[in-house]
């Protein structure tokens, strides 16, 4: 594994004044964000607040109208010259995406490939790793997420929790510099949530840089180094988990936390 154990102050993901509309809806309204190497940042907020869109913009699955994104210090996806954007080539976009892992709400495993096939697909065809090396690394990762015996299974033969752990392993197989998690437990049966969160906690413990959109407040409280509350396309409040869950400053944060926690 890559050594992430000594976090320094180098920003891994930087977002600057990001704006994005869906029709009349201003879904991202001037987002500024910086995530340091080794940090685990959780984004919470009501649905429709723009958290998932922000994550998808960071991986260029959505294209914002304006703003800048830097990955590991480098301007990603497009250049701006005199207010005019010039899109990077598809190949350059793909190269940046290859450095950032992403895990989705609905797993999105490739159903026509085995679990092993899912894990080695991109390392072999994108990173040009030798097949044997890719398989060895994949096996290590499957052991790490507790799926060592499922390498030859097809995704549809697995439970939701197993599929999501396989999807995390698939993203890790690219040896990413950072990981994006987009509501990865929202589609799971309640009893399967814990096993996925356990894998994410372990990953956080290993020093992985993580940006996590989640409704799991306990995970945010325990695993996050910083919690961001978003509403209506803006970052409303941003602080330590102790601060935001113990004594939120903003009334909107308090209202949101009251509705999700006091049930």
């Amino acid at each position: 594994m890559k050594d992430h154990s000594s976090p320094h102050d180098r920003p891994m993901i930087e977002v600057e004044n990001l704006h994005k509309h869906f029709g009349p809806l201003h879904v991202l309204n001037g987002i500024n964000l910086s995530i340091t190497t080794g940090e685990v940042v959780c984004i919470i907020g009501p649905s429709g607040s723009g958290k998932s869109t922000l994550l998808r913009c960071i991986n260029h699955l959505e294209v914002p109208e304006s703003g800048r994104i830097r990955i590991d210090g480098k301007l990603a996806y497009r250049d701006e010259e005199g207010g005019v954007f010039k899109a990077h080539s598809n190949r350059a976009v793909a190269a940046v995406r290859a450095q950032v892992g992403m895990v989705f709400q609905h797993f999105n495993l490739f159903p026509h490939l085995t679990v092993m096939g899912n894990l080695v697909e991109a390392p072999i065809h994108v990173l040009r790793q030798p097949r044997a090396a890719a398989r060895r690394r994949a096996m290590e990762l499957l052991e790490m997420v507790g799926l060592g015996d499922k390498a030859d299974a097809y995704p549809e033969e697995l439970s939701g929790g197993q599929q999501q752990r396989a999807a995390i392993a698939r993203a890790l197989a690219m040896d990413p510099k950072a990981m994006l998690f987009d509501e990865v437990t929202s589609a799971l049966d309640p009893e399967l949530v814990a096993e996925v969160l356990a894998v994410m906690r372990r990953l956080a413990g290993q020093g992985m840089t993580m940006l996590v959109v989640t409704h799991e407040m306990n995970f945010a409280r325990q695993a996050a180094s910083r919690v961001i509350f978003m509403d209506h396309g803006r970052i409303v409040e941003e602080s330590s988990p102790e601060q935001i869950f113990g004594a939120p400053r903003e009334p909107r944060t308090r209202d949101f936390l009251r509705t999700v926690l006091d049930r």
């Binding site: 991986n59 260029h60 699955l61 598809n90 190949r91 793909a94 190269a95 995406r97 290859a98 450095q99 950032v100 892992g101 992403m102 989705f104 609905h106 999105n108 495993l109 490739f110 159903p111 026509h112 697909e121 991109a122 065809h125 994108v126 990173l127 299974a153 097809y154 995704p155 549809e156 033969e157 999807a167 698939r170 993203a171 690219m174």
Partner: protein, 226 residues
Amino acid sequence: MFQLFNPQVAVENIGPLLGGLLITVELTLVVIVLSLIFALFVALAGMSRITPLRWLMKAYLEVIRGTPLFLQLIYVYYVLPSIGIRLDPFSAGVLALTLNYSGYISEVYRGGIQAIARGQHDAAAALGMTHALAMRRIILPQAIRIIIPTLGNYFIGLFKDTALASAISIQELLYTAQVKAALSYQYFTLYTVVGFLYFAVSFPAARLVGYLERVTRAGYGRRRRP
């Protein structure tokens, strides 16, 4: 003694008729291979970001769908020579049938590609795959599996549609029977044998398609294979 079905005539003509069936099968197979390839280009061009290319494919599709296959065959064989394109009957048949079936099959491809969930594109992109690589490794393999039964049904249709090629004197099964019948007046016997020969190929092919449909619907895990 007068009889409708004359076994002796059937036996005497079975050789030429089987020869005709062979041409029919050859024609079908050649058109299957060519249209599977050509239709993929039509489908991808039809979904291209280049607008004129999309329009061109749309126009092609509407012309193919808006005119009879019979006319298309006759057009390729009898009209193209007047602009200097002279084809032998078999080539003309292959060209017309390929143009026709590629139109329809491109729509089958398009449906299959669009049936693959958005999340598959997202996952492939997030892993750093280019659009072309994602198409080749992730989207098309799934799409092809979905459309196999539909393609099978189209190809059974094609096998029967090749009978139209008798109109441009390709010596396939129906044409052979027409020639023999014109000489012997044994319409009942000859056309019954012809019907039987078409059915003898179509029916097993349809069963095979039915089997493929069950296999592809069953999902990917070995556990669920029928």
